[in-house]
């Protein structure tokens, strides 16, 4: 027996999917332990071992791959728990992180405050040095500035340092020397050099990437080391990979040296997984992929089968958050999930979220000291959940506690019955989720009614059909693996990375020799990746592209380039044709008279580890005896009803059913209102016709 493990640590639950190679899939969930997230991972693995009557050591010893997604990095940024980080910048330019690239949204809204720099001015140091546009040294590095700054940093207990000098991408000598000085004077202090982490033109993006990366290094270095050593200590001898914001995976050790790529680890997988399940169901429409966890609701839009991609990733809103300077899978997140807390404000308005009860204490009904009623408490009160069967029976629920909390915090101030109050919580969170989807559909001019909703995540089943009704969607797909959507995505994702080089050339004076050298260097790095991390992969692919634009434009289009590069005028002409055509397609005009400038060169390498592109089937649980056939539940639109009660694992495939109904499986409860129909497909997914 050989296993692959995929885990995804969310704010509330740690999901685990175990794939037995040549066998079946099984899914487990353990509570996330915020103070020690690795424990949640080990807890989930322990559940899996017990389920197979193995010891943890025996299970792990049979593992060949362990893939991990984590919100640890983003949580640290959002809650301000990153390392105390300093910023070294070219003399004369202390405000790079404050000026940013300018720009603002909502021109008449002065209620939005100007953002604080990622690293405060008090920890910013100007270093005497200057490199010019062609890499020439205008002012040599004055090492005494660096040494003086480092002495202050030592006294100020700084844990990490970001270095970004102007034009370091053309001549990195000063940044490299500064790195050496840091190692010499502050050995053991982490640092990031901007030209290494993000070799792109525009100093703010590079500085911001360096600052974010440096601020994560101590924390993520410790975390990933801890994860690897504890899993290995428990008997695992295979490979530990971590999911990246770009929707691929990389070795844990490599990522601890560039932790900025872990920021969107986990959520980046949901459109990949959603797209996979839709393909298996032969769905061709656009997809709204949702992932309802305990704390957040993640949404993404897959159009024409293309994984959504954002060219400049912001942590927080555009212009007031912080830019990572890298492209990533485009997944938006709001604070709404099973653990979302509800309350009534002084003006009598009901709110649900964005705060979450998390895993500890969790919803009131867990009986672990939670005081504030949550979305899960509302669903229990409405009768959707079986108190004895939650999380496969591992978490007993206390309905009386949930009812009392809703009565006190919501029903009394709203002067409603408890059931009405629970239904109000249900409706408010549904509307919040609808608005999150509007942001990525209607606001982009896309009608959500034409798309299929993918309901992923453990809490998706409660209200996804209502969300679909509000949006006008006709179909909702609940994947059998929906409770661990990102972990499922992790199993089908590839080892992937990209390399970039900044080099300026133009179509009328194309530097064939230099471009050849740039392309060779990029291909060489890809070859090293294939031979290193990608050594045992089943399949490799490398793609090249160029960031190009018309003369004096400043925003580039990424144009694919043939794998051999551009080595003669015929190939150049073909490449330019491709650029003109793409420009016309995207922007309705082309300008064949214009010079084309090329500034960034990108190589992406992908190594496929799986042999079988199709995931194993989810192992059904054995049918429970003495299972009731109906349950009385309260529906927001129709009130109390006797809903048909079905065990998902025991349902016959392809047989149509009518709502009102509640479909239960180990980790999910799907509520289907009157007027909707549903079927369990041959692929093992639940498809609802709204």
């Amino acid at each position: 027996m050989k296993f692959r493990f995929a885990t995804d640590t969310g704010g509330t639950f740690t999901d685990l999917v175990v794939e037995e190679i040549g066998g079946v899939l099984k899914m487990y969930k353990a509570a996330t332990t915020p103070t020690d997230p690795v424990r949640g991972v080990l807890d989930a693995l322990t559940l899996a071992a017990r389920d197979r009557d193995l010891s943890l050591e025996q299970l792990l010893a049979a593992g060949e791959l362990f893939v991990h997604g984590t919100t640890h990095a983003i949580n640290a940024i959002v809650t301000g728990r990153t390392a105390r980080t300093a910023f070294l910048t070219t003399e004369g330019h202390p405000d790079v992180l404050t000026i940013r690239e300018g720009g603002r949204s909502q021109p008449f809204n002065y209620a939005v405050a100007y953002p604080e720099p990622y690293i405060p001015k008090a920890l910013t140091f100007e270093i005497r040095e200057r490199v010019g546009v062609s890499g020439e040294i205008v002012v040599p590095l004055d090492e005494s500035f660096v040494v003086t700054a480092l002495a202050k940093l030592a006294a100020g207990k700084v844990e990490s340092i970001a270095v970004c000098y102007l034009w370091s991408i053309v001549n990195p000598a000063h940044e490299l020397r500064t790195g050496e000085l840091i190692e010499q004077h502050l050995p053991g202090v982490a640092y990031t050099l901007s030209h290494q982490i993000n070799p792109s033109i525009r100093e703010y993006r590079r500085a911001s990437a360096a600052a974010i990366d440096a601020s994560l290094k101590p924390l993520m270095g410790r975390y990933l080391h801890d994860l690897t050593s504890r899993i290995e200590g428990a008997g695992f001898k295979g490979r530990v990979l971590v999911l990246t914001s770009q929707g691929g995976m990389l070795d844990a050790q490599q990522l601890s040296r560039q932790p900025i790529h872990v920021i969107n680890s986990g959520p980046s997988m949901s459109p990949i997984a959603g797209s996979y399940f839709a393909q298996r169901e032969q769905i061709t429409e656009d997809l709204i992929v949702t992932d309802t966890g305990g704390t957040t609701y993640d949404v993404s839009l897959v159009r024409n089968g293309v994984i959504p991609w954002t060219p400049e990733t912001w942590i927080g809103p555009k212009f007031v958050g912080h830019m990572t300077g890298f492209p990533s899978v485009d997944v938006r997140s709001i604070g709404a999930g099973g653990g979302s807390i509800s309350w009534v404000d002084e003006g009598g308005m009901l709110h649900v979220g964005p705060m979450s009860a998390g895993a500890d204490p969790g919803p009131v009904c867990y009986g672990k000291g939670g005081k504030h009623p949550t979305f899960t408490d509302a669903c229990l009160t409405l009768g959707y959940l079986d108190p004895a069967l939650f999380l496969g029976g591992t978490q007993m629920l206390h309905r009386d506690l949930a009812v009392a909390a809703i009565e006190r915090d919501v029903a009394t101030p709203l002067k409603q019955t408890v059931q009405q109050a629970a239904a109000s919580i249900f409706s408010v969170i549904t509307e919040n989720m609808v608005q999150a989807i509007n942001e990525i559909t209607i606001n982009q001019g896309i009608n959500p009614a034409d798309a299929v909703l993918i309901g992923g995540g453990g809490a998706a089943g409660f209200n996804s059909v209502w969300i679909a009704r509000r949006l006008g969607c006709r179909t909702v797909v609940f994947p059998g693996l929906s409770a661990a959507l990102s972990a499922a995505g992790a199993l089908i994702s590839d080892l992937a990375t990209e390399y970039r080089r900044a080099f300026y050339t133009r179509s009328d004076q194309f530097a064939f020799e230099e471009v050849r050298a740039v392309v060779e260097e990029l291909l060489e790095r890809c070859a090293q990746f294939k031979a290193g991390p990608g050594e045992h992969a089943r399949k490799h692919s490398v793609s090249l592209s160029v960031e190009a634009r018309y003369e004096s434009q400043v925003w580039e289009l990424e144009v694919p380039m043939p794998c051999g590069g551009i080595s003669d005028s015929t190939q150049l002409a073909a490449f330019l044709d491709e650029f003109h055509a793409l420009h016309k397609r995207v922007y309705a005009v082309e300008d064949r008279q214009s010079v084309v400038e090329m500034i960034g060169w990108i190589a992406r390498v992908t190594c496929t580890l799986r042999e079988d592109p199709v995931l194993a089937r989810l192992e059904p649980a054995s049918a429970m005896a003495g299972y009731a056939s109906t349950r009385r539940a309260y529906f927001p639109d129709t009130g109390l009803e006797a809903a048909a009660l079905l065990q998902f694992d025991a349902m016959a495939e392809s047989a149509a059913h009518d709502g009102p109904a509640i479909v239960e499986s180990a980790f999910t409860t799907t509520v289907i209102p009157r007027g909707s129909t549903f079927v369990k497909t041959r692929e093992g997914n639940l498809v609802v016709t709204v």
């Binding site: 003399e91 004369g92 330019h93 202390p94 405000d95 404050t98 000026i99 940013r100 690239e101 300018g102 720009g103 603002r104 949204s105 909502q106 021109p107 008449f108 809204n109 002065y110 209620a111 939005v112 405050a113 100007y114 405060p120 001015k121 008090a122 010019g132 546009v133 205008v138 102007l166 034009w167 033109i201 525009r202 100093e203 703010y204 509007n438 209607i442 606001n443 982009q444 001019g445 009608n447 300026y504 018309y550 003369e551 004096s552 434009q553 400043v554 925003w555 289009l557 420009h583 995207v586 922007y587 309705a588 005009v589 300008d591 008279q593 214009s594």
Partner: protein, 589 residues
């Protein structure tokens, strides 16, 4: 809310977002394909969808100065060209026919169905790097009339028929506009944006039908008017006036230009009136406003002062009456009055006076003065680039902070001016050095330059730059030295603008406020932008904010004590006792 309203609300939300989505797509095209810095970095452009009755319906989020003027310009199109055909496109930049100023080239494309019925007009308007002025800048402050200004004027001139260029017009422009390749690229970008708007509107009509679209249009404008009227009904009734003074420029007289705005709020009628008639006559220089910009500048002052969620379109604007006078510097110009700088300078003073008038009516509305522009760091650079052996003319946006303290927040640090409202990008130093033979020696905010206040203004920003290996001209026209941004409701005045030259030997040379500065190789120009005025008394500023500014070394400990009444120790901690004492001593009575 009744069931019927909810249904309408959902449709309104979807279609209004959809139309805004189309306008955004147009705007994205202009941003990404434009050639001159003023488009692709400064975002000095707008894209709008206007009904066949010349009502502004939707606009891409862009510079406030642009968006609101779409009605006047489409009205003049229909007057000059009563018969429109599918495939037509018109170039319009005439300040005497509803356009903002000559530097904004607008492309208008009528959206016409297969039966030849005109349903909507889409327009894309962009500020260009050059428009054929007599000097290499689009801001000709000293021009005594349109002839000296020298711009080519196009009063809704047809440039495309059956989707093909009328090449005579293109050739004229190529002969009379500097860096013609850049102009051509910008023309294509603007045209592309308008054509994308047309394409998307036709597709939307195919999907939901023209009738539904027109029904939405009237519902949407009605909804916007009623939102505006509700917002006005919650304002205090009253009448207030305020002034804002523009520095002396060539042609203004030595006292500069004092602009007065009289604001009347009539909550019971849901109406606001802004009267700009009591202002000086048109001046023999490029500062005069046009009808579009005078009206827009007043509207910006109004929208800055009220609930920001009201949609900005013909519906909401119908609840505001702006009184203008013909032959007035802030009114309706008569040909050949020059309006070269009509979107900035005096326009910003109109906005300042209007929002300051609001602020006198109650705490929590209005704003302090926004800093004035255009200092050299947002001026126009030109010259010959020995690296590419080509001439260049381009506006740079290297540094202008100017944000005003307001009821909610401190001043925005990259606001630039009221008309721009922070929407433009600030240039990356590396981009500017790559594009032009120049070096930026420093760029930093200056401590103690904020207009102090409960919510303080932005800090001034200093930028030193100059040519490398060649000469360079920097054209600028900077207001805000003699009249730095004033605070309101007890807030302090922010830092003023200043500028000088540093010669190769390190000596300095003072420069006048309006200038085509010539810099030799190795010389530098220093540009200090205005800060912003403060809102409310600095003695009421919360302690944590003062501590944060002191920790960042942006407010000195001396200033914290003398202006904010906050006593900070050398380690940055606040001495609360001493602070309370100082603050209570400053309280009158």
């Amino acid at each position: 809310m009744s069931e019927k309203h909810q249904v309408d609300g959902a449709r309104l939300a979807i279609l209004s977002n959809r139309l805004e989505g189309i306008a955004s797509k147009m705007g994205n095209t202009l941003l990404k394909t434009g050639r001159s810095g003023v488009i692709n970095r400064a975002k000095d452009f707008s894209c709008c969808i206007v009904s066949s009755r010349c009502e502004l319906i939707a606009a891409a989020e862009s510079l406030p100065a642009h968006v609101l003027g779409a009605e006047l310009i489409t009205q003049s199109l229909l007057e000059l060209h009563p018969v429109l055909r599918k495939g037509d496109a018109f170039l319009h930049n005439s300040p005497y026919h509803g356009n903002g100023h000559a530097a904004d080239h607008t492309i208008l494309v009528p959206v016409i169905d297969e039966n030849g019925t005109h349903h909507f007009t889409v327009l894309a308007k962009a500020h260009l790097a050059d428009i054929g002025n007599s000097i290499p800048t689009t801001y000709h402050a000293m021009a005594k009339d349109v002839y000296e200004e020298g711009a080519l004027i196009f009063p809704a001139v047809q440039v495309q028929r059956d989707y093909e260029d009328i090449v005579d017009i293109i050739r004229m422009c190529e002969m009379r506009i500097r860096v013609p390749e850049t102009w051509r690229g910008d023309y294509l970008a603007t045209l592309g944006a308008a054509r994308i708007g047309e394409r998307e509107m036709l597709a939307l009509a195919k999907e939901i039908g023209w009738e539904q679209l027109h029904r939405f249009t009237s519902d949407w404008l009605e909804y916007s008017a009623s939102r505006m009227s509700q917002v006005i009904s919650r304002l205090p009734a009253g009448n207030a006036e305020a002034t804002s003074t523009h520095d002396a420029f060539p042609g203004t007289g030595e006292n500069g230009v004092c602009i007065k705005s009289v604001v009347t709020i009539r909550p019971a009628d849901g109406m606001i009136e802004v009267d700009l008639r009591d202002n000086p006559d048109s001046l023999p220089c490029g500062l005069n406003l046009t009808r579009a910009t005078a009206w827009t500048a007043a509207m910006i002052g109004v929208f800055n002062s009220i609930d920001p969620t009201v949609p900005k379109n013909t519906g909401s604007c119908s609840r505001v009456k702006v009184h203008l006078r013909e032959g007035c510097v802030a009114g309706i110009p008569v040909h050949p009055t020059s309006c070269s700088m009509a979107t900035v300078n005096i326009a910003d003073r109109v906005t300042n006076a209007t929002q300051a008038a609001f602020s006198t009516l109650a705490d929590g509305i209005g704003m302090a003065e926004v800093g004035a522009i255009l200092p050299p760091a947002v001026g126009v650079v030109s010259g010959y680039d020995p690296r590419t052996r080509k001439s260049y003319v381009n506006q740079i946006i290297l540094g202008a902070s100017c944000g005003p303290g307001n009821p909610h927040t401190d001043g925005w640090q990259t606001l630039i001016c009221s008309a721009a409202a922070g929407m433009p990008y600030h240039d990356s130093i590396e981009q500017d050095e790559l594009y032009h033979p120049m070096r930026v020696y420093q760029r930093r905010y200056l401590p103690d330059t904020e207009g102090a206040g409960r919510n303080r203004g932005a800090f001034s920003i200093r930028v030193d730059f100059g040519p490398v290996g060649c000469e360079m001209e920097v054209g600028y026209a900077s207001d805000g030295s003699a009249n730095p941004p004033k605070g309101v409701r007890g807030g302090g005045t922010g830092g003023g603008a200043s500028f000088w030259k540093i010669r190769v030997d390190g000596t300095t040379e003072a420069l006048p406020p309006v200038m085509q500065a010539k810099l030799a190789d190795g010389e530098r120009i220093v540009s200090i932008s205005c800060g912003g005025g403060g809102y409310g008394s600095p003695m009421e500023r919360d302690l944590a904010s003062v501590r944060r500014d002191v920790a960042a070394a942006m407010v000195s400990r001396e200033r914290a004590a003398s202006v904010y009444g906050v006593v900070c120790g050398a380690d940055g901690t606040i001495d609360e006792k001493a602070t309370a004492k100082l603050r209570s001593a400053s309280r009158p009575g």
